[in-house]
């Protein structure tokens, strides 16, 4: 069922992580990803993993749900791991079969890279699980606002993003409905060759397109009725505000970052 596609995977709960300012979370996620890629030995990754586990525990997001977010990129992870496994040459040959040669260093690197990617993905999904799409775009808009000096339409970008996110579930629902309606008239979407299948999409795409335009016009009218005139002089109902907990979050992350930098300088790298 098309409805099963999870998007905007916000997981509503009351937790410290949810309550953090979206700007804090955005900065921290960027910092976290940098930190995961700075770390060049397993101790660094261990520290990073521990940090993530702590954050997840605080966020009340079920670990199962967190792990599920890695599912779409399993292929990428496997691909990276296999490439590393095959191409990194080391001192100890573990396995040989034809042109396939696997060295100890290859295994280490493969595992290391896989963990790195998984941690980075988990880190960013923690952000999307704990921040609603609206908060996220709000945070982005505020973080990007210095770019206004360069005449970049930051507010408009943020608004476009909000609208796009808002309409994804609506459009999915609409697609579902139109598909059912055409199937009820005998549309055959499941069989036939490529050309036939592409042609079968026409009766779905055209109504979907038409209705998107209709929705866009309706939305524009509704916005104008409420005197929307762009970002200029616009005030906010919910002002983003940093709190003590944000300072704590920055502090802890800085500590972990420091730890990882120290560990990666002092300890020998994996490769």
């Amino acid at each position: 069922m098309i409805r099963d596609i999870t998007f905007g995977q916000f997981f509503p709960a009351k937790s410290v992580v949810h309550a953090l300012d979206p700007r804090t979370k955005l900065i921290l996620v960027v910092a976290y990803i940098v930190l995961v890629f700075i770390g060049n030995n397993f101790l660094c990754l261990g520290l990073a993993a521990a940090f993530l586990i702590l954050a997840t525990a605080l966020s009340k997001v079920p670990p199962k749900l967190m792990l599920r977010s890695t599912r779409p990129i399993l292929f990428v992870i496997a691909f990276t791991a296999i490439l590393n496994l095959l191409y990194i040459k080391g001192d100890v040959l573990l396995f040989e079969w034809g042109f396939v040669q696997i060295y100890d260093k290859g295994v280490f690197t493969a595992v290391f890279m896989a963990i790195r990617i998984i941690l980075a993905v988990l880190g960013s999904s923690l952000l999307t699980y704990t921040t609603s799409p609206t908060d996220l775009t709000d945070g982005l808009e505020r973080l990007m606002s210095p770019l206004k000096v360069l005449h970049l339409p930051v507010h408009e970008f943020a608004l476009m993003m909000t609208i796009a996110l808002r309409f994804i579930p609506t459009l999915i629902e609409e697609t579902d409905k139109i598909m059912s309606a055409q199937k009820a008239r005998g549309a055959d979407l499941e069989t036939g060759g490529l050309v036939k299948r592409v042609k079968a999409l026409v009766p779905i795409l055209i109504p979907l397109f038409v209705s998107s335009f209709r929705r866009a016009f309706d939305l524009a009218t509704a916005m104008e009725c409420r005197c929307y005139h762009g970002g200029e002089g616009r005030t906010r109902m919910k002002k983003l505000q940093m709190h003590g907990r944000d300072a704590w979050a920055f502090g802890i992350t800085a500590l972990v970052l420091g730890g990882i930098i120290a560990a990666s300088i002092l300890l020998p790298p994996v490769f």
Partner: protein, 290 residues
């Protein structure tokens, strides 16, 4: 033998997920050929889910659907054939129009059935005539029609498949009273002329009372009542408990009965009401109406 029958039909949305919800709970109904069934129930009662089962758009979690005594899921590969026999017209069907001309859009169903050009042409013409779309409109783009015309063109798209069972999900939603009367009249005419079985999902008790012979009441994913219009609408208080209202006229007559007047409460339209009051008055002249 009933033409369409469900046995212990159960459907669960999002099974094994936190959003799990029973949309249909052991629904067993039997619909006879030539019947005009009104399906009522308030939002979320499962009526849309039910009708989508009847033409095989949704596969039941458990239970079965029999068309002419044959399980429609006996051969899942042939489910498309079921959809030609049980025509389903969705709510706001005008949003599914897609072809360059009204003709091509109405012909979509018959063409999918694999009929030859001549037969398709015949069916499109007759379906358009049923919903009184003027022949010159057939060559126009469906997007240039008025709202009411679009709705009728979309309904014609389902009629053109000439299904044995026709299901319409709120065909009059969002239309003005005149447009509503026109469409209901056309559906009734179609049913009379073809002798086909029709299911009409509706919110309007007045509409159901006026055109249907039987009423199916859905409540909380279950089939709460199924019987003739008279049988169902006399249980007004039960219906009210489900958040449903019987037609206003009927309410007045039930009230009159409660107050001791000897009236027939099977009154669903203003016209019937007028006749009943006139009867009562003439009776009162002759003797005591009470």
């Amino acid at each position: 033998m009933p033409i369409l029958e469900t046995k212990e039909l159960t459907y669960i949305y999002g099974q094994n997920s936190p959003f799990e919800k029973k949309a249909l709970d052991t629904v067993s109904i039997a619909i006879d050929e030539g019947e005009f069934v009104g399906v009522i129930g308030h939002t979320g009662s499962g009526k849309s889910t039910l009708v989508q089962h009847l033409n095989g758009l949704i596969k039941p979690t458990s239970g079965s659907i029999l068309l002419d005594g044959r399980d429609i899921w006996a051969e899942p590969k042939k489910i498309r054939a079921v959809r030609f026999e049980v025509g389903l017209c969705f709510q706001y069907p005008e949003y599914q129009l897609f072809a360059e001309t009204v003709y091509k859009d109405i012909a979509f169903g018959p063409q999918n059935m694999g009929l030859d050009e001549e037969e398709v042409n015949k069916r499109v013409k007759s379906a358009a005539a049923f919903v009184s779309l003027k022949p010159e409109l057939l060559e126009k783009s469906p997007f240039d029609l008025s709202g009411g015309e679009k709705r009728r063109a979309a309904i014609a798209g389902v009629l053109a498949m000439e299904p044995k069972v026709l299901i319409l999900d709120e065909p009059t939603a969002g239309l003005d009273p005149k447009g509503r009367d026109v469409i209901l009249g056309q559906i009734r005419e179609y049913q009379k002329e073809r002798g086909s079985t029709v299911l009409l999902v509706s919110h309007s008790m007045e509409d159901v009372a006026r055109v249907c012979s039987k009423v199916l009441v859905m409540n909380d994913a279950k089939c709460a009542m199924y019987g003739t219009v008279d049988e169902v609408f006399t249980r007004a208080s039960e219906l009210a408990g489900m958040g449903l209202n019987i037609p206003q006229v009927t309410r007045i007559f039930l009230g009159l009965k409660e107050r001791g007047y000897n009236v027939n409460t099977c009154v669903y339209t203003a016209r019937q009401g007028r006749d009943e009051i006139l009867r009562l008055l003439s009776q009162a002249k002759g003797g005591d109406g009470r």
